[in-house]
């Protein structure tokens, strides 16, 4: 049988949806079965997670969606969630009688596409098909369609239930995708659904590791987003390329900032995320039938998984699955920014601001590298998993021209892949703000949300429709700038959370940033006078990346520690002097409790120094855009500049 949408029953979609329910409570199992049957779904029940996995593995494509309880005796529901996500890539809904925010958050972090509270109502179950549908849409975008022929996503099939609106929407999405398909594989038509077997995944991991080893920077960084935040003429620019980790961006930023400096641009913060290169992975894997899109989407999941592991401090690179949540759709844009805003405050208090839990985006303090001391911070993005990703940018004090260590990472920029799509958005951040410890940014950020973030799907097509992916909020002018001073003043710097990037591959990196609070320090280190513009951060923070942002999941900053050390001493340049380790620091006031780790960024192929050079001009052109530019018209421009392609 086929994949859900290709069999005859798809005509009646969502009826006939194949649901697998996993719950150790027999009473609930019975109730849920009955409820789902009433929704005309095909139900299979299971009281053990292991059995569920066996069933799923035994019948690949035998189910459309999985509903699982969180607390189960034989296996943690979250683990099951990850496994299913990675291996089968099915939407998973979690359930629990416990509705505590932290639990729900955890669920989302692990990739749940929804979290239901018990007692579960029929009406909640009636709508679960949306998750399946959504995933299908994503897959189309990733050009990973199911087997079943061109009609697979034919509106007629999927929506023959009579939902013409959906059909239209679907068509629109598809059209839009196809329009921008310059980066995607033209033969998007049906492709066989890739099932990532253990072997295949192993090959994948090997390839990724290989790239990591080859790259200049610490492997394990998978990034694919470029974010550049800088201020020019009182306008802040952000270029965000979704689906990436910030780590690399940091490096890119360094390079970039150099150039910017030369070009008299004072970058605020650059976050560069380079695509780790599904293409490269694909090449290394040497699996003939596999497509780049397959690898790309698997890579996303893998990153998420890595970040999760890192977060849990598990050094092993096991084959785990993380279900990618549909962040893009569910994330309220505000959350991203808002969170950061809280942190922006002088104190570290809110370290969760970026997303609470984990998906935090680290802001890198590129300050050190910022020439002219402008760009100080690197914004970290919260991974898509948590839809709210916040980018936080630090605006370095223009006066500080310390060559930040970022420079050291210049070459990382080069590795940016051409595939990186980015979205740029505009923020207005007044420069030269003195960090008077104002936290206006916070509020401002919250208030001004102008999402216009063009997200490009690094993997496939050009930027995804913004609304789905990234929300950019315009920063209000918040005159907060980090004082150039020492690190000790970090607290003021702000709420940027630093997440240690995790290096799945190289454990030599520091996985956690010890002094959370120090993140500020990190920034400040950048330049003794890094002035960080909290606003920038806020602005950035408001960017919620779409699925891609997923990558920003908490990863440990490998070098965070080293960076910290560099920074802490107050030597501005220390920051990145060491290496390509991108360190993202969250300027979160001191205590960033969470290690917001950016996913490991592999700078494998990015060695395009041109990128930096071109950036400035491109930035202006390309970056400046507003909501109207949703279509990433600038993409090409920016692309040249920013993404090392």
């Amino acid at each position: 049988m086929e994949n859900g949408f290709s069999s005859p029953r798809t005509d009646a979609f969502p009826a006939g949806l194949r649901v697998l329910v996993v719950d150790d409570d027999p009473t609930w199992l019975k109730i849920l079965e009955k409820m789902l049957k009433k929704c005309s779904y095909e139900v299979t029940t299971c009281c053990l997670a292991r059995d569920a996995l066996d069933m799923l593995r035994g019948k690949k494509d035998g189910f459309d969606i999985v509903i699982s309880d969180v607390n189960m005796p034989d296996m943690d529901g979250f683990k099951l969630l990850e496994q299913v996500g990675l291996e089968m890539d099915l939407p998973v809904i979690m359930m629990s009688v416990d509705g505590e925010t932290s639990r729900v958050m955890k669920g989302v972090q692990h990739g749940a596409c929804d979290y239901l509270l018990k007692p579960v109502r029929m009406k909640e179950l009636r709508n679960i098909w949306q998750h399946v549908f959504r995933k299908k849409i994503h897959e189309v975008k990733d050009i990973e369609s199911h087997e079943g022929g061109p009609d697979e996503f034919d509106d007629g099939h999927l929506l023959s239930a009579g939902d013409t609106n959906l059909a239209k929407k679907r068509k629109d999405l598809e059209n839009r995708e196809h329009d921008d398909q310059e980066f995607s594989d033209p033969s998007a038509a049906k492709k066989v659904r890739v099932v990532w077997s253990v072997d295949l995944h192993q090959k994948f991991v090997n390839a990724v590791n290989q790239i990591g080893l080859d790259s200049e920077y610490q492997p394990g960084f998978l990034f694919n987003t470029l974010i550049c935040i800088f201020i020019h003429k009182n306008i802040s620019y952000f270029i965000l390329c979704p689906s990436g980790d910030i780590w690399l961006s940091y490096l890119l930023f360094t390079t970039f900032s150099c150039h910017l400096n030369n070009a008299c641009i004072e970058p605020l913060c650059v976050i560069l995320l380079a695509e780790v290169g599904p293409k490269k992975i694909l090449d290394l894997m040497n699996v003939p039938w596999l497509t780049r899109e397959n690898v790309a989407s698997h890579l996303q999941k893998y990153r998420l998984y890595l970040s999760r592991l890192q977060k849990q401090n598990e050094p092993k690179t096991s084959f785990g699955g993380i279900k990618l949540p549909d962040f893009s759709y569910k994330d309220p844009p505000g959350s991203f920014g808002l969170q950061s805003s809280t942190t922006m405050h002088q104190n570290n208090a809110a370290n969760t601001n970026f997303g609470y839990s984990g998906n935090k985006i680290l802001v890198q303090d590129v300050g050190s590298q910022i020439h002219g001391g402008d760009l100080e911070g690197i914004v970290s993005f919260l991974p898509a998993a948590e839809p709210k990703k916040a980018l936080i940018g630090d605006v370095p004090d223009p006066q500080k021209t310390s060559s930040s260590s970022l420079m050291g990472t210049t070459h990382s920029l080069e590795s940016l892949r051409p595939d990186v799509n980015y979205a740029s958005f505009e923020f207005t951040i007044p420069r030269q703000h003195s960090w008077s410890g104002e936290t206006p940014v916070k509020e401002q950020l919250k208030q001004e949300h102008e999402p216009y973030l063009l997200l490009g799907d690094g993997y496939t097509n050009p930027p995804l429709p913004i609304p789905h992916h990234i929300q950019v909020h315009r920063l209000r002018s918040v005159p907060s700038i980090y004082p150039r001073t020492s690190i000790t003043e970090r607290d003021k710097l702000g709420p940027i959370e630093t997440r240690p990037l995790c290096t799945e591959y190289k454990s030599n990196h520091v996985t956690s940033i010890s002094p959370v609070g120090r993140t500020v320090d990190l920034f400040s280190v950048q330049a003794d006078s890094h002035i960080i513009n909290p606003q920038a951060f806020e602005a950035i923070s408001t960017i919620t990346s779409s699925t891609k942002s997923r990558n920003f999941d908490q990863n440990c900053v490998n070098n965070l520690e080293s960076v910290q050390q560099n920074i802490i001493p107050g030597s501005g340049s220390a920051l990145l002097s060491s290496h390509g380790d991108v360190q993202l620091f969250s300027l979160q006031g001191c205590g960033y409790t969470e290690n917001i780790g950016l996913q490991n960024i592999e700078f494998s192929d990015y060695n395009d120094s041109e990128l930096v050079t071109e950036l400035p001009s491109h930035l202006y052109d390309g970056l400046r855009f507003n909501c109207d530019y949703l279509d990433l018209m600038e993409y090409p421009t920016v692309d040249q500049g920013l993404f090392i392609a």
Partner: protein
């Protein structure tokens, strides 16, 4: 007629169960799930619940005998119990479970013992009531329950 008299009785009993807080909305959900394909659905579910929860109660009793108390384990048991009771809408039982969990969190052994007694008490009380209710329902004819639930 006997039928309608029984029906009325049943309705009364049912209402009082809700009014007194023994049952909550979830029970109604169960009733709504009952249909021709599963004419005794509610009763089946309740039976299942009691079977499973009895086992759980046993586990908790055993755990409560250990010294010192393993609060985490107890908390887990209660979590399960709470989830289970929410399935049939056993409101009072669920509340007692929450109380128990609070005691666990506070590490209050005495409190745990006491609140678990309450849990058992509510659990047994509801069971009696529901048994009577179902008996009535059967007497009144399955058609009654089915039609009412629709």
């Amino acid at each position: 007629m006997e039928g309608s008299h029984l029906q009325r009785q049943m309705a009364c009993m049912r209402k009082s169960l809700f009014d007194q807080g023994f049952l909550d909305e979830q029970f109604i959900q169960l009733e709504e799930l009952q249909d021709d394909a599963n004419p005794n659905f509610v009763e089946e579910v309740v039976t299942l619940f009691y079977r499973d929860s009895t086992r759980l109660i046993l586990n908790v009793d055993q755990a409560l005998e250990k010294v010192p108390l393993d609060f985490t384990k107890l908390d887990n048991y209660m979590h399960q119990f709470k989830g289970s009771s929410s399935s049939i809408g056993a409101a009072k039982v669920k509340n007692e479970c929450t109380q128990f969990k609070e005691c666990c969190k506070a590490g209050n052994a005495e409190g745990c013992m006491r609140s678990f007694q309450q849990v058992k008490k509510e659990h047994a009380a509801l069971r009696k009531k529901l048994e009577a209710y179902f008996q009535l329902a059967r007497q009144a004819g399955t058609g009654e329950t089915a039609s009412r639930s629709k």
